[in-house]
């Protein structure tokens, strides 16, 4: 009789939110795990490393497994584990500010563009102008004004992301605006502002969420590239890109110098790409 007493499965289970479903797929989980690991390492940096990231010692270019320096030391005798962990911290600090800021400014300009045709033309041409400069040339020009440091890196990433998010949201608004449900809402006497916030924006938001994951990888890329170009965060402060570019002259002599940032950047970027792809697949369904 146990079969009868068992509760019948509910007829219609409330479907899971697509974002949660996306993150529960194999892709999403692997991606989240990779990103989570890197973020955790960055957050726990002061606890996990016994040395300061800029403390120098006489022990230069020591190999991995040296007592007190699990990943070895760099050309100035600084602990590579500490530099790696604090580098992750610095990178996360930069991208966690720059990408949301770029997204916000991009979305605001798209909203302004949606409000009036003249504003639309102005905003579009401004986007064209930013996009006319190849990304890294823009980075060089901005650093020329601001001088090297953390601020120009954030400024470059933000500026590069504004047209990306702006164009995406503008297209989304234009597509949704032509849909019948919007016409119906307008006929129903709902105000323009309410149609925008309650109907159009929620439907145009999905690509933006995917883009945030993609833009975070781009931000890691820009930080590293600027360090390689010598216009990034000022030494001796470590970032992932800075540690890697400092390892370049020693690749033959001490390849372990480069291993930490190589593995970390790859894990972070791959994890973010997997999350972005998982979200994209689930949303498109």
């Amino acid at each position: 009789m146990t079969a009868l007493t068992k509760a019948a499965p509910p007829l219609a289970r409330r479907p899971r939110h697509p974002y949660r479903a996306a993150l529960a797929t194999g892709r999403g989980r692997t991606g989240l795990a990779l990103v989570g690991l890197v973020v955790l390492a960055g957050l726990l940096a002061p606890l996990l490393s016994g040395h300061g990231p800029t403390d120098q010692s006489a022990l230069t270019l020591a190999g991995p497994g040296t007592p007190g320096h699990p990943l070895g030391t760099d050309d100035l005798g600084r602990d590579l584990l500490s530099r790696l962990l604090h580098g992750i911290r610095a990178d996360l600090g930069i991208i966690a500010v720059a990408v949301p800021l770029g997204a916000l400014l991009g979305c605001l300009s798209a909203l302004a563009a949606a409000a009036h045709p003249i504003a639309d033309t102005v905003v579009q041409r401004a986007f064209d102008l930013i996009l006319a400069f190849p990304g890294l040339i823009l980075a060089l020009a901005i650093t020329a004004i601001l001088g090297p440091g953390r601020l120009p890196v954030i400024a470059v990433i933000t500026l590069a992301e504004i047209p990306v998010f702006g164009r995406l949201l503008r297209t989304g608004i234009l597509v949704q605006r032509g849909r019948e449900y919007v016409t119906a809402a307008r006929v129903g006497g709902i105000s323009g502002g309410r149609i925008l916030t309650r109907h159009i924006l929620p439907n145009a938001a999905d690509p933006l969420v995917v883009q945030i994951a993609v833009s975070l990888t781009v931000a890691v890329f820009i930080e590293g590239a600027m360090s390689f170009l010598g216009v990034g965060v000022r030494p001796p402060e470590p970032t992932l890109g800075a540690v890697l570019s400092q390892a370049m002259p020693y690749l033959a002599q001490a390849p372990h110098f480069a291993v930490g940032p190589l593995v970390t950047v790859t894990a972070l970027v791959l994890g973010l790409s997997l999350v972005a792809e998982a979200l994209n697949r689930e949303i498109r369904r």
Binding site: P134, L229, G230, L244, S273
Partner: protein, 314 residues
């Protein structure tokens, strides 16, 4: 077609004009007076003033801007402030190196992208298709400075077959030059090759699913001939457009790859000129890069319009 060009050209020119203004204005915002930098820390005010007058920096800004535009149009770029030599020569040398790198990368993009696309679409071997997928995903998501370091570790440190950086001009010593060119060109090419490969794979798969392919198969045409004579030509046009857009990306990406492999191109020149506050070089260089970028975009739009008549009448 001519109508489309006439409509598209003014906006490209406008972007260039605004860009020239932006470049000029940005460099006037840069902290640090080039005359003071050139004169050195111990120079007297008169020496600085003399240098300023010689460089025309004492004129009002609008006059400086117009003089600069006039010089550009007549091709007289003048001497560089700090690096030494004529600006035109510096830019010419850098341009040669960057063009060499970009063309080398373009070759890799076509060959690798073609291989990725064709193998990915047609290989029945699970290992091959998985390898192609992993390679393209990796090349797309991993930043060039990571692939660059990996390439140097593999080919220079571990195998010791290729130099880790530097350049020997291809035209003066082809055999040596190729060795120096291979790694940077490959590093620059990989992301674009992956994009191209994915597009080509999708295109070939779509073409192979068409009715005419089934008809041809039924008529007994060999699969190899089907691929090369029927599916591939039909998959190519969008890929050619994509190649144009990727050329712009290659030029932009070259700046980073040049820094990784110590390749003395325009990117390295820009970096050097910025650090040493060499206004004329930076100014001309930024505008040159933007011009090339805008031209490539214009060209891509034209090819697009040529391939797809709907765009022309929009």
């Amino acid at each position: 077609m001519r109508g489309y060009l006439l409509r598209r050209l003014p906006s490209a020119l406008l972007v260039l004009l605004v860009a020239s203004f932006a470049v000029f204005a940005v460099l006037r915002l840069v902290p640090g007076d080039p005359a003071a930098v050139l004169a050195g820390p111990d120079a007297s005010a008169e020496t600085e003033a003399a240098i300023r007058a010689r460089l025309g920096l004492d004129e009002p800004l609008p006059a400086q801007y117009l003089r600069w535009l006039g010089d550009l149009l007549t091709g007289d770029l003048g001497p560089s402030y700090a690096i030494g030599g004529q600006t035109a020569d510096l830019i010419g040398d850098g341009l040669g190196a960057t063009v060499e790198l970009t063309l080398g990368a373009l070759l890799f993009v076509v060959v690798l992208g073609g291989a990725f696309g064709i193998l990915g679409a047609t290989s029945r071997n699970r290992w091959v298709s998985t390898a192609v997928r992993v390679l393209t995903t990796g090349a797309l998501s991993v930043p060039p400075f990571v692939t660059g370091v990996l390439l140097v570790l593999l080919f220079s440190v571990l195998l010791g077959v290729l130099p880790p950086g530097g350049r020997v001009p291809l035209l003066t010593a082809p055999d040596l030059g190729v060795q120096y060119l291979l790694l940077p060109a490959l590093c620059l090419a990989l992301p674009s090759a992956a994009v191209l490969g994915r597009y080509l794979k999708d295109g070939i798969e779509r073409a192979l699913g068409e009715d005419y392919v089934r008809t041809a198969t039924a008529a007994g045409i060999a699969p190899r001939r089907l691929l090369w004579r029927h599916a591939l030509p039909n998959a190519l046009p969008p890929v050619v457009t994509l190649l144009g857009m990727q050329t712009g990306n290659l030029l932009g990406g070259a700046v980073l790859v040049e820094a990784i492999f110590a390749w003395p191109g325009l990117g390295q020149l820009a970096e050097q000129a910025l650090v040493r506050r060499d206004y004329p070089v930076v100014q001309d260089l930024l505008l040159l890069l933007v011009t090339v970028f805008v031209l490539v975009q214009l060209l891509t739009d034209l090819v697009h319009a040529w391939l797809d008549p709907r765009i022309r009448w929009e």
